[in-house]
Homo-oligomer: 558 residues x 2
């Protein structure tokens, strides 16, 4: 079942009558059916490629409902995506060739922002940038969270794939409340169980009446979410930002992990930092030092150490936001300084984002301090985007890392790694937040990177006080099928090892979905039963997250 | 379809071979089939009565699986309850006569308490008292939440019906993470999507891999939860308790509601107080003053005012816990004093639960202060149980209110309102946390109480910063069919009015389940489709929360 990395030749020509029917529903501007167009919008960073026959862009719920009814009637599968910017997870890539990929980017209304109760109601095409700009322009007293990815990613798309951010509202799916969902029969479900059409609490009370159904539509294919409520946080009275560098001996990393958990448990850390290893920091600060490879496929420990030292990067680095009343931020500062001070250096530099003379002074001083500390100038450029992420302000500063190995330099604007051929794939096992489990996961991950001769990239993401996500990834040359094959082998071994150790990935990619539920046969069977009941023709994103595969009417030629 | 209130005569004699089969699975001690026994354990407070043929008490997952398979095979419906102590919502009462009621109280193991990560894994028979005692006896650093109901209620049963508590962990369903569920085919599902049998994060990471399935098993009949993880909170560094009495003019209640929301939004109130009206307080402090009725069915405004004054009860009262570091509690105190001080009196009396001389002094002084403030001695008895509720310590002090009208006095121990014939029914619409909606809900509720000649009992429960639950209830004479009929009429009108106004009840009762989803036909149809797919014989709690009704083979005689 392994696909060639660039299966452009496999694209099935669309049935002319299908295209006509789509145009009748969506208008000509809502249908892309020419080979070049389809190829362009379905490029991907992962080492797996499929192409649909047609790409469709509905701009309303009614259009989408008509599309779903058409698909069921003609037996054509639909692969819905919001904006398809989940670079390194699969973007617009269906798990099969052919069919219609449905991009929801034109359904991009911000329907409502409730300034009393702190929530918004948005459509799947709304991007982080659009949402954040809207809140700022309307003078909202609320902050939205953002992901570390491109500002052009979909807020709902990220939430529905369990993506995460950095502020106290980092749990994006957890922040959703109340959905409109187009079901496979074309019907429109309003979740929450209350009176449809006039349920006053559908976006304020999560669990509703009867079973909680919102959960059925996350990492799923039982319906297409066309609108959802999302909770916001009030801008805090006080804000600060702590920048931490781990300078202790490597053997103290275990105790550090346990102490970090206790800070989160005690709510001294309310944000969701990413503890990045040196290589992960270097991807942002630098380009890959191909000249240091010495004929190897990945850097030797010695070369990596020399390279890292050039930029003054610590073994582990993270930043975190501080939020709340003045008293609360004072408490957070006291605890962060006390506990993290045992393991490295802590600097409180939140003032850098202030619009007053203090902010200006910090912005001037930071590069000088950095230079004294032996850090490269790139460090100073990180500061504002990093702090702003913890205030929910999106940036593409970090996602540019996708260009770190495939391109001579990172572009300053118009970032699109899929379009630009960057090779990149992520896997993020969820791990109990204890030193024992985290160290075990790091050790086995390092072993797998070494065995497959890739450089060890890892961010330990604080999911909650109980779990972390050990996000690891590989950058590779997407033009080489041999490299793609190496990446797939690395991914499969990593995934198997995580599963074996009890650390399920928090997210699958288009290339790993078919077997996503294999380790839990009862859940897999239950999902198949539910899927068959609500989508008997299996036309809605067949094969997502381990559900029954699409039985392709025209198997692609090899 | 209206049932007589005491339909004892309708109990169908059990099929002898069914009883034999049950005894073969559960042993004789696990089966109650005699009329008196069945009648006794299925008594209810609500004005609706059904009786099963048999009551079954499995003590293991294997027994329960065998029971489920037997039920499917013989076409006998099972009505599972945890401990059946949800007094006023339906207790052990199925929505139909006959069948087997399955009480899970013997499955009562506390399987694990994780002192690093702050969660426990428990079975449905575990009670609040058992759980709390266990944590205290083992010297746990964690607190569990409790409900205001009896200490003998099931922790999981309450959570699975979306019950609530008072501490920051008040959202009982929200605190569940990772379930074992017996499915209608007898299979055992482990939720979370990760590797079954060795998923290290199933109780630490809520959303799992693939669709979030835990939500399918709340207020539902798609499976029987036999084990679940439940999150705990670390005992805070500092704790205090604020007692508030509203003394401002009635027309300032709206602004007060909005200010209360802002306190919650700013996390100055982290607990989930119940704002009780004077009548609700009187139910706890006193017995019903039948002698003041003057031939009416409920108290006149004048009589109620005199009665309330005797005890020095304010128009509205609540208590709330303060939690966190010293700095955080200082902030909470500052804000609570500043904001609530505008509307009434605030006393910080959390020290009363301390084991030192400060605690002793407060305990001695409180009754004296109360007397000076014109309060009855009963007030002082409330103090410790009330504060302890906000530390997660269960008490039956408040649930004794069930005896307030039906009995001459409240029992001191062995509280069981269903067994003792107390008439009692609750309805709790969820309402947006704004003055406009809360005042609207209170006004329409008052009108319905007046029209049906019941005394207005209400507690405004802070669900979150976005919603409140306006919990209302009626105490009545359960021996009178005429009274029961009055209560049903009140309930139905209240429910219709709430639904019409967009305020769905957070919970249904056994007498209201059949139509629970009528206002949301698409959700109702989707649930029916899911139910039919996983339970084609419809033997698992048929008719729960608006799902298709049981087609009774032997209709009860009228």
């Amino acid at each position: 079942m392994t696909k060639p990395a660039f299966a452009q030749a496999t694209r099935a020509s669309p049935d002319e009558s299908l295209v006509e029917a789509l145009v009748a529903i969506l208008g000509a501007e809502g249908v892309v059916a020419d080979s070049a167009g389809v190829e362009r919008v379905t490029r991907t960073c992962i080492p797996f490629r499929t192409q649909p026959s047609v790409v469709a862009y509905p701009s309303s719920v009614e259009q989408l409902q008509a599309l779903v009814r058409l698909a069921a009637q003609r037996g054509v599968p639909l692969w819905p995506v919001s904006t398809g910017k989940n670079w390194g997870y699969g973007e617009n890539t269906a798990v099969y060739d052919g069919g219609v990929t449905v991009v929801l980017e034109r359904m991009n209304r911000i329907c409502h922002v409730d300034e009393q109760l702190g929530y918004a109601v948005i459509e799947p095409g709304v991007t982080y940038k659009q949402f954040n700009d809207h809140l700022k322009q309307t003078g909202s007293r609320f902050w939205a969270d953002t992901a570390g990815t491109t500002p052009l990613a979909s807020v709902l798309g990220n939430a529905l794939d369990k993506g995460r951010g950095m502020t106290p509202m980092a749990d994006h799916f957890g922040a959703l409340c109340g959905m409109d969902v187009v079901l496979p029969d074309g019907g429109l479900l309003e979740t929450g169980g209350g009176p449809a059409g006039h349920n006053a609490v559908r976006h304020t009370y999560k669990w509703g009446l009867g079973p909680y159904l919102d959960g059925l539509f996350v990492q799923s294919n039982l319906g297409i979410v066309v609108k959802a409520g999302i909770w916001l946080m009030p801008a805090p009275e006080a804000f600060d930002f702590a920048a931490f560098e781990y300078t202790a001996a490597p053997d103290r990393l275990g105790p550090f992990i346990d102490d970090l958990r206790e800070l989160v448990m005690a709510r001294a850390i309310r944000s969701h930092p990413h503890l990045a290893n040196d290589f992960a920091m270097m991807c942002i600060l630098s380009q890959y030092p191909t000249d240091m490879l010495d004929g190897r496929r990945h850097l030797s420990d010695d070369a990596a150490a020399r390279w890292v030292k050039q930029h003054g990067v610590a073994r582990w680095t993270f930043g975190c936001g501080l939020y709340g009343s003045r008293e609360e931020v004072r408490y957070q500062k006291r605890m962060i300084r006390k506990v993290l001070g045992r393991y490295g250096t802590v600097q409180f530099i939140g003032a850098a984002v202030r619009d007053d003379w203090v902010g200006a002074a910090v912005r001037v001083a930071a590069p000088l301090v950095n230079r004294m500390l032996g850090k490269s100038p790139e460090f100073a450029k990180l500061m504002l985007p990093a702090i702003n992420l913890f205030r929910g302000i999106p940036t593409d500063h970090f996602v540019r890392q996708a260009y770190f190995k495939s391109h001579p330099e990172k572009p300053e604007r118009d970032i699109d790694p899929a379009r630009d051929g960057c090779g990149l794939v992520w896997i993020g096992p969820v791990v109990p937040f204890t030193s024992e489990h985290v160290m075990n996961c790091l050790t086995l991950t390092q072993r797998i990177f070494d065995a497959h001769e890739f450089d060890f990239f890892v961010e330990v993401i604080v999911e909650s006080s109980r779990s972390v996500i050990v996000l690891v990834g590989v950058f590779y040359d997407r033009d080489s099928e041999a490299e793609a094959e190496r990446v797939r082998a690395w991914y499969n071994e990593a995934r198997d090892a995580y599963t074996e150790n009890g650390y399920p990935p928090y997210r699958a990619t288009s290339m790993s979905m078919a077997s996503a539920m294999d380790a839990n046969p009862v859940a897999r069977q239950l999902l198949a039963t539910l899927k068959n009941a609500v989508d008997p023709a299996n036309v809605l994103a067949p094969g997502r997250y381990g559900t029954p595969a699409w039985q392709h009417p025209d198997p692609p030629s090899p």
